[in-house]
């Protein structure tokens, strides 16, 4: 088993980046690390009961009483299993990765919708990011950014960003032509057109992308803990290492419960804005 020219070039490229731009990567890593840390401490600062009330309240507002009861029970059982700290750590990783995915992904998606060439390039890049097995970029991430939360968030961003880019592009392209033309005939600039017509109408699609991005980020939890992400993923790996079915299951259940809560709540925002949009349009 030896890599060919293709693999060797990638390896030398990573080494080249590391040797020549090390100080840049270190600075970037420190900056990103500070932002991730900020997310983490602000989420960790919220006491369990405040978080419980907030999420149950959100659940009642967005999804109704039945889901609120489920969310309450889910959070209660996470607390009961003693996994609250791990869940907070995982949640902050997901929030940070989602945040960066959206900050980069939504503008990229808009650009893709407005420029055919950009869209073609983006599509191939996104295919690559989504299908390249995540394990593959763990080691380059560690070489460039060191062990810990930073490479974990970067690996998660690579995996989780594609849906929001794709669905932003799709959403904008699906805005009805009459609406766009109406906007133009009233003399809208490109920016006004985007802000007042295209984005509001594309919102359900964009929100679906946000929802998918969060889910993808959650699915990276265990893999990312192999390079120091910590949280529930670490708990799961610990269970595997000890052949402890109970620990593994509880860690996994924590991920599932967190996923259901995040999925249902973020999904509901897409549905609501659809209604709003109809009134507006």
């Amino acid at each position: 088993m030896n890599s060919s020219f293709i693999g060797k070039s990638v390896e030398s490229f990573v080494n080249f980046l590391f040797m020549h731009f090390r100080s840049w990567f270190d600075a970037f890593s420190a900056g990103l690390g500070a932002v991730i840390h900020l997310f983490e401490i602000s989420i960790a600062a919220i006491p369990f009961y405040v978080m419980l009330v907030a999420i149950v309240g959100l659940a009642v507002w967005r999804k109704g009483v039945f889901f609120a009861i489920f969310a309450g029970l889910a959070l209660g059982s996470i607390q009961y299993m003693g996994l609250w700290n791990q869940t907070v750590s995982t949640l902050s990783l997901v929030v940070a990765a989602t945040f960066f995915s959206l900050v980069v992904g939504i503008p990229l998606g808009i650009w893709g919708a407005r420029n055919k060439r950009v869209e073609v390039v983006l599509r191939s890049a996104l295919d690559f990011m989504q299908t390249m097995p995540a394990f593959v970029y763990l080691i380059p991430a560690v070489i460039l950014f060191g062990l810990g939360k930073v490479p974990a968030v970067i690996a998660t961003i690579v995996f989780a960003m594609p849906p929001v880019v794709r669905l932003t592009t799709l959403g904008i392209k699906q805005v009805r032509e009459e609406l766009v033309e109406a906007g133009r005939s009233f003399g809208s600039t490109d920016l006004q057109l985007l802000w007042n017509i295209q984005l509001p109408n594309a919102l359900p699609s964009i929100m679906a992308g946000v929802n998918q991005t969060i889910m993808m980020a959650l699915s990276m939890v265990v893999v990312a803990s192999m390079i120091g992400a910590g949280g529930l993923g670490e708990y799961v790996i610990s269970g595997i290492q000890r052949l402890d079915i109970g620990i593994g299951f509880e860690g996994g259940l924590g991920v599932v419960l967190l996923a259901i809560i995040l999925d249902r709540i973020t999904e509901s925002f897409g549905v609501k804005s659809k209604k709003k949009k109809k009134v507006k349009a």
């Binding site: 088993m1 030896n2 040797m19 560690v142 070489i143 062990l147 803990s225 120091g228 000890r242 052949l243």
Partner: protein, 290 residues
Amino acid sequence: MFKSFAMKASAAAVCTLGLLTAQVAKAEEAAVKIATTNWADVLAVANVVKYVMETKLKQPVQFVQADIGIQYQGVARGDLDLMVGGWLPVTHATYFARYKNDMEDVGVIYKGGKNGWAVPAYIPESQLSSIADLSKPEVKEKLKGTIQGIEPGGGLMQASEKTISAYNLDMKLQSSSEAGMLASISRAYPAKEWVVATVWSPHWLFQKYKMRYLKDPKGTLGGEETIHAFGSKEFGKKFPKAHAMMKKFNMTLADVEAVEMEGNSTNDYATAAKKFVDAHPEKVKAWLAK
């Protein structure tokens, strides 16, 4: 609609897979199934065993790659016939306690395995030679307060946690994976940055990088480890010749490291094992003695 299709499709896939594996299992029943992991020490020993069994005993061997915990479970259940990297008394104590009644301790392969914390040799020994030195503020700062660890929950990591509290260290044990730990060393090494990692011997990392173990005066990371071969309960009955050979099989730590070094640099453990066996006919004779 899509969901139900996906469910049907995956159910069909699972059934097909089951049938396929059953077929494959039937075809390969005659082979000794040896568990391997991508750890250099296990690969070195397993390939030597494979080469000897296949060429001297005409006994086919099949490698099954599995995580270490799964190996114990597989051998205990009888799905795997043999594993050649069982570390006692400390590293695999949890697994051993759990499965010792369901498997056979076929014998000791080599002695001198070791767990510990190691640092690159460019870190001056005057500043950092013992685990106790990690409590010095300037040392801690240069190491960014972190010990680079491997998969959480395993023997070495549990011992490392004990060590942190025994020495009263204010450092974080960063759990990741073996690959993550190695990557963080290869990141620090060219820039001569300070780094401390949980490692073990034999490991090719000591050939690739100049590293030294930190002294462990309290002995919380454990002493010398002995590496055992564990077989399933049926191993002796199913493969009497291979079993007799494994009873006599042993290597020295230097043997294992030699195969490892060759195997790791060429990425071809099978050839490295062949070279080693062909160069040591007297050892093979002893292993095959009636």
